[in-house]
Structure formats: C-alpha cells, structure tokens
C-alpha cells in the first residue's frame, strides 16, 4: 500500500510539472531540433527578444496588468457590498440572486461576448481597453461576491453596534472596525480576481477585436507561428503573477472553490 502510494505520488508530481518543463527549456534554447532531448546551445536570446520593445511583450504586459487591476478594483467596489448582503442577511429571493450571480461563472464567455459586442459597437466601446475591462467584470465580479459573502458570513456585525454605542460615527465604524476585519478577505479575493482577469482569452478577443492585445493573445500568436523559444519566454512571464500570488496567499488560494461551498450561511 505504501509502495503504491509512493508510485502514485511520483506519477502525480511528474504529470503536474511535465508540461511546464519543455516550455521553460525552450525559453533558453537556440536551435533545439528533433531528435535532441536537450538544446545543443543555451542562450538568453529569447528572453532578450521578449523583453525588447519590438516584440511587444512589455506593452502587452503593461496592458494586461492595467486591465486586470482595473477589473479587480471595480470588482472590489461592487462586490464587497453585494457580498455583505448575501453573507449577512437572509431574505426572500436570495436563492434567485445567488443564481444570477453564479451564472456568469459557469456560462461560457463566448455566448455572452458575441452579443455584447454588437451593443459595444453602438457605444464605441468595441476594440477599446475600457470595453475589455467591462467585459472582464462578467467573470471577475461574481468571484469577488462569492469570496466576500463567505467572509461576511463569518463576520459578526454586532461588533459594529458595539462600536457605535461606544461613540464611533458610521464612518469611523467602517474605517476602524469593518475594514480591518474584512481586509484579509478582500486581499485574497482581489488577488484571485486579478488572476481571473489575467487568464481571459476569448472575452478579450471578441470585445478587443484583436486591437487590445493582452499577453494571452500575444502568447497564442507566437505559439501558432512556431516561435517556440519566444513562446517559452512569454509563457514563463505569463505564469509569474500566479506563482507570486500563490506564494503570498499560501493555502488561501481556493477562491474558485468557494463557488462550490456556495454562499455563506
């Protein structure tokens, strides 16, 4: 049994790490032809090219980061209040509202984005960064609401009443009582939301019309053009925020899993 478990663990670890290995090697390879198991020559050139202005990677990186930050900020602003309502109160029609908020997580983006594009044309939001930020809210906002409703379900609002009776104004209560209590949740939720936006492909493609070239769009382009070395370098850059966030949040990174446990209470 123990033997079997060890074997299973080795298979699992290999399977998880394996697809990343050729990607990483390619980013340091020069002329890695069939059938060599490793590149004949090692080089930093793919990285140098990826980080040079002409490749457009840096531009895409800035664009992707900006879009993800904007979508996250909006999600926090809109999602924290909604999370409070769903986490703290029981009311008629709550199940329906939960369903309305959950639906965008499950419904494939392509079905929504194609219809939205025809509306955005009229609003001149098509092919714009603003349009892309807005469409990214479709998957990011529900996640933020989910995370926050979990946080608020575990938060006792009586401490706010206590603070009020001790002479705090509503503003002071929010600033000194509510915010510190929910801040860790907001941070975890925000990092998660950031990653959700960071990973979007089809929403950006449809609404951005190819003009708003985020990192995944650029990565796809290089991947299909056979530039494996540059693709490897961009791929490594592209997974970096996820790795950082994983290290920062350690084991809290189960935001998507709160979609399973459902809303608080």
């Amino acid at each position: 049994m123990a033997h079997l478990r060890r074997m299973a663990a080795i298979v699992l670890i290999s399977w998880l790490v394996l697809p990343l290995v050729p990607l990483a090697i390619w980013s340091f390879a020069r002329g890695w032809t069939f059938p060599n198991l490793l590149p004949q020559n090692w080089t930093l050139q793919p990285w140098a090219f990826a980080l040079s202005p002409q490749s457009g990677v840096l531009h895409s990186l800035g664009l992707t980061t900006g879009i993800a930050l904007a979508a996250t900020a909006l999600s926090v602003l809109l999602g924290v209040p909604a999370g409070r309502a769903l986490g703290q109160y029981k009311f008629r029609g709550k199940t329906l509202i939960e369903l309305i908020i959950l639906a965008p997580i499950i419904m494939p983006g392509i079905a929504v984005a194609m219809g939205l594009q025809s509306v955005f044309i009229g609003l001149h939001l098509n092919n714009t960064v603003t349009g892309v930020v807005l469409v990214h809210l479709i998957p990011t906002l529900p996640y933020m609401v989910l995370v926050m409703s979990g946080i608020f379900a575990a938060y006792d609002p009586q401490v706010e009443d206590q603070a009020r009776s001790l002479g705090a104004s509503p503003g002071q209560v929010f600033r000194h009582i509510t915010l510190p209590a929910i801040l860790p949740g907001i941070i975890v939720g925000a990092m998660f939301t950031f990653l959700v936006s960071w990973s979007q492909y089809i929403l950006t493609l449809v609404i951005g019309g190819g003009r708003v070239q985020t990192l995944p769009l650029l990565l796809f382009q290089f991947a299909t053009s056979g530039r494996n070395d540059i693709t490897g370098a961009i791929g490594m850059i592209y997974i970096l925020p996820g790795v950082l966030i994983l290290i920062l949040t350690a084991r809290h990174l189960t935001g998507r899993s709160s979609a399973i446990t459902g809303f608080g209470q």
């Binding site: 478990r5 060890r6 697809p19 990607l23 309502a85 109160y89 499950i106 079905a111 219809g115 899993s257």
Partner: protein
C-alpha cells in the same frame, strides 16, 4: 423594512453590472440568433438561423465532438482528482511538493498548459524525441498524432492537467472537513477499505464533486483557446465554429453563429441547473 432597503442598496450596483453586461450580452446574442436587429434594418424575428444550423451535419459532428471532449475530460479529471485527494489526504514524503504543484497549477492559465502539452506530445515534441532515443520511431511522422488529432487527445490531456487540481482541491477540502472518523467506524463495523470508501466517504463527497464536475463540464464545453490551439482542422468544436461564423465577413452568417452560441449556452444552463440541485442537496444534508 430597514434591512430590506439596506440589502437592496448593497446588491443593486453589482446586480446592475451583471444584469447589463451578462444578461444584456446573452439577450443580444439571443435576439440576433432570431435575425432580429432593428439597427441594421432586420425587424422580423424568425428561426432561419436555427433551421440552417440544425440542418447542418457539420454542426452535429461539431456538437458530438464538443460533448465528447467535455464529458471525457470531466470524467477522467474527476476520477483522478478523487484518487489524488485520497492520496494527498495522507502524509507521505513529497506531499508538500505535490500539494504545492496542485495549487500552482490552479494559477496557471489554460493557454500555457495547452502550449506545454503541445511541446510534450507533438510529433517533434519531447515524447517523440524520447521515443526516437529508445529506437521506437525513426522520424517525427512515425510518432502517433496526439495533438491536432481527431480524438482530441491533446485537448483532453490539457483539460485533465488543468482541471484535476481544481477538483482535487475542492474534494480534498471536503474530505478534510469530514475527517476520517466515519470511515474508521465503518471499518470497525466490518466494512472493507473499498466498502468504507464506496458506502461512507464517496456519498458524502459526492455533492461537492458533482458541483465541481458541472463547472468543469460547462467550462470545457465552452472554452475557445485550447481547441483553437490543439484541435484538428475538422471537425471543430462548437465555440470555434461559432467564433468563425461571428468573424465571417459575410454578415449573413452572424445569426447562425449566434444560434450556435445559444446552443452552447443551453448546454451550460443545464449544467447550472444540475449544479444548483447538487448544492441544494448538499445544504440539506
């Protein structure tokens, strides 16, 4: 009454945004699938797009392929995820690494996974090179087509790689909440290891597992970039077909693309229904 007002105020901004963007988008897709678009002078809604879509054998092949990919990926990922969760539940040497990789994988975009699978499994990829090294093949073309192939093995491999950790994390959290006392009781009551799993643990993790599987199914059914990168040129999956129609210079093909999008949405809606049912059962239990 005051609570009611407060709840309304708290919910309105988020619901408005989701309502306008999500339901608005979906609604417009629906209207256009009925050939209804007053702005460009299409004032008579009809079912032409659906008629032509449902008459096309290409669409059925595409639907079959898409369902096959989603079902196979979900099934394989779910079964392996339960096994992985059972493995990670125990302590063993290397569990920390395995657990870190499972979580790391959650953060990696699907596209990167797909490229990794491409570089591993393509006919000039790492595995082909290894096969050459041990003398199994003499040229790249001898290596079996695992990507761009009709069986969509590369696509399924990517989904299994990416979704296995997702289902694992949920199932493992579930198992850890449950603890293993129930299984211990079952064991002393005469249940074998398998019986304790089958009759005691599995029924208890099932609601969470079903919910996770529903999400994975809906995602794999509607995803674009992975089949776009790894799929064969024909048949294509539904999302690819829809997007192709959508970007066609011939505006007449747009309603058909929208009808395909509605088909995708309908399948996902069924998944949402199953998901909420599982969630309700879980709460009751």
């Amino acid at each position: 009454m005051q609570d009611r007002l407060k709840i309304t105020l708290l919910l309105t901004p988020a619901l408005t945004v989701i309502g306008v963007l999500f339901f608005g988008g979906l609604g417009f897709s629906l209207l256009r699938s009925f050939n209804y678009m007053p702005i460009i002078g299409m004032n008579d809604p009809n079912l032409d797009a659906y008629r032509s879509v449902l008459a096309s054998p290409q669409v059925y092949r595409s639907l079959a392929l898409t369902l096959y990919i989603a079902a196979t990926s979900t099934l394989i990922a779910s079964v392996l995820a339960v096994a992985t969760a059972l493995l990670l539940r125990r302590s063993f040497r290397g569990r920390a690494i395995a657990s870190f990789l499972v979580h790391l994988n959650l953060t990696i975009p699907h596209l990167v996974g797909a490229i990794g699978i491409l570089y591993l499994f393509s006919q000039s990829g790492s595995f082909a090179r290894m096969a050459y090294g041990v003398g199994l093949i003499t040229k790249p073309a001898d290596f079996p087509a695992i990507v761009f192939d009709p069986y969509a093995i590369g696509i399924i491999a990517t989904y299994v790689w990416k979704e296995l950790p997702f289902i694992t994390v949920i199932t493992l959290a579930n198992m850890q909440t449950l603890g293993n006392d129930h299984e211990s009781v079952a064991r002393t009551l005469g249940a074998s290891r398998w019986q304790a799993f089958r009759h005691v643990l599995l029924p208890q993790i099932m609601p969470g597992l079903l919910s996770a599987s529903a999400i994975v199914f809906a995602f794999t059914f509607g995803a674009y970039e992975i089949p776009a990168l790894l799929g064969a040129s024909a048949p294509q999956t539904l999302p690819l077909m829809a997007y192709r129609g959508f970007t066609d210079v011939n505006l007449a093909s747009h309603p058909q693309a929208m009808a395909l999008a509605m088909l995708i949405a309908a399948v996902s809606a069924i998944m949402i229904a199953l998901y909420t049912r599982a969630l309700r059962n879980k709460r009751r239990g």
